[in-house]
Symmetry: none
Subunit: 336 residues, 2 copies
């Protein structure tokens, strides 16, 4: 046979699919012993050379890294991934990305896809309420590293920011500048630690300043401009209207400001607004938005280094690292 | 009933086609809620078990689709990928994304990674000047589909927008509103068809209106806010300053506007500015930016359908499809 023999040639000869050949060669357990033997013999006869991945598998490494994020098209996740790439590409790894759209079933599928792609490690900002699918990663002996959104699991390192402090400093700034009727928009599933902690920071700041926590001032939404408009619609139909909004999302903060302006309510004179994440648009708007920076590039780089440190020093392998970055309040025009 | 229940058994019982049963079970959105419910109930009653792996093995499919984009964190590429996901997830495919950062070597690595991951197809917005790495995809008998940025290759379908028309309509709008000294910022490698075509549209519109093409009015930059500022710095140190800027990137247009405003040059009274891509921020700025919409969601959906149509109809397999979407000029405040 001329040219390089591929799994497609083997498949053709044996009248089975290329996927079956691939699975047999890669030791997938869903292949019968008979088929495996048949494939291995044909591969040998045809002088098949396993590709780089197959060879790497023998050595235990593919040099592929899987990343799972809720969504790719925000500056925050884009920057975390950039940080991961900076550190990991330099070490010869290539990054494959999947998005979960905040959907637990989708995230489970992403995990399955990445395990099947033989990645060396999975970095995840998890949207799951349970850790069932995540456990599969550990069962497959693939290192798992959380960033931004983590679950409490044994033997899994994480790099997050201190979301409690982020929520606290945002709320305290509103109080310090004279606001007393401060609404909070959760902007994501409260089951996730990041949103729970930002809310807890908000609550604690109110308590420390002897301001009553009012249930009707706390709204749960998704993270979108439209939801910010809707939130203002609800909050400004209350008998006692808020004088400030702390949103756990910049997109919701932007929508809130747009809706306030549409109602001729002056920002920040009548209502102050703070977002979260320091998305670039918060800075280049005419009415720039006060927000909390999460240092995503640093988060990605740090998460990569945690993994590399585990892998290159076998004695570190089972040391669980928990890195917590400090957030920073960025003062702009949407607060007094 | 004896033996394993198949979709054919369900189809027979309900007197509908097996394809409809399959679509209903796989969550295809083109199935009515009524039919979906009927199928799911029958499947439950008949104790039907879907065996995804078996199906995949029979068809020789991994059900993974690879996507390569220059960068993930723009609304444009995020929306194309959303369009791909909408169509492909419904058919049981899962999407793996890689980014090339406009780097040919990185793109070649991405291609290698995706081939090794046994994806069923690769959708790419290519940053490559040569088609050497892309040829490897075809050699591996993996379908390749271009979107946005294509290369001229045999047997590869593509979904693009008419970038020539986009460039032409933007420039014509500037001429129609009285501008005569129109600069053009290429905002990406001129070797890529999209930038070459937008520039050609600019050139043609000038020619059709008997306006001289001036070399010093055409700048090559990358797509970033900083580069837009730098471009204004160069253009406004020319002896004869432009009265309009057509940028092939919204980010460069934004940077240009910021720098013009910093120099107290009034937009659009003294200088009109047009961007390209209709990124969301162009709409929610105080001085909203006139731009060219590329319909990215539609682009993603169409590219997915081109692939699915090839795969499900073997006779279409070698028909090269070239879909060109029409761009649309979105008028906002940055032009007169």
């Amino acid at each position: 046979m001329n040219g390089k023999v591929t799994i497609y040639d083997i498949a053709k000869k044996l009248n089975i699919t290329a996927a079956t050949v691939s699975r047999a060669l890669n030791g997938n357990q869903n292949i019968s012993e008979k088929t495996r033997k048949m494939v291995l013999e044909a591969a040998h006869e045809m002088n098949y050379k396993q590709n780089k991945l197959a060879l790497a598998l023998k050595s235990g490494r593919s040099n592929y890294i899987g990343v799972i994020v809720p969504r790719i098209n925000t500056n925050f996740f884009g920057s975390v991934i950039r940080g991961l790439e900076e550190e990991l590409n330099a070490k010869g790894f290539n990054i494959i990305i999947t998005q979960s759209h905040n959907d637990e079933a989708m995230e489970a599928k992403n995990i399955e896809t990445l395990i099947d792609s033989h990645v060396d490690a999975i970095f995840i900002s998890s949207s799951s309420k349970s850790s069932k699918a995540l456990q599969k990663v550990l069962d497959a002996k693939i290192p798992l590293i959380f960033f931004d959104r983590r679950k409490i699991m044994d033997n899994v390192s994480s790099v997050t920011i201190d979301d409690f402090t982020g929520g606290y400093m945002a709320t305290k700034h509103l109080i310090d500048t004279g606001c007393r009727k401060i609404a909070h928009i959760v902007s994501g599933p409260i089951e996730l630690e990041i949103f729970r902690e930002r809310h807890r920071g908000y609550q604690q700041a109110l308590e420390d300043h002897h301001i009553e926590y009012r249930k009707e001032y706390v709204l749960k939404t998704n993270s979108s401009i439209e939801e910010g408009k809707r939130a203002v619609d609800i909050l400004f139909n209350l008998p006692e209207k808020p004088d400030a909004i702390f949103s756990a999302s910049d997109f919701v903060a932007l929508g809130a400001i747009q809706e306030l302006q549409a109602r001729n309510i002056k920002v920040p004179e009548e209502v102050s607004v703070i977002g979260f994440a320091n998305e670039p648009f918060t800075d280049f708007l005419e009415l720039s938005i006060t927000t909390v920076d999460q240092f995503p590039l640093e988060m990605g780089r740090t998460a990569a280094r945690v993994y590399l440190n585990q892998e290159t020093n076998p004695e570190n392998k089972n040391i669980q690292k928990k890195v917590v970055l400090e957030p920073k309040l960025i003062l702009r025009k949407s607060t007094r």
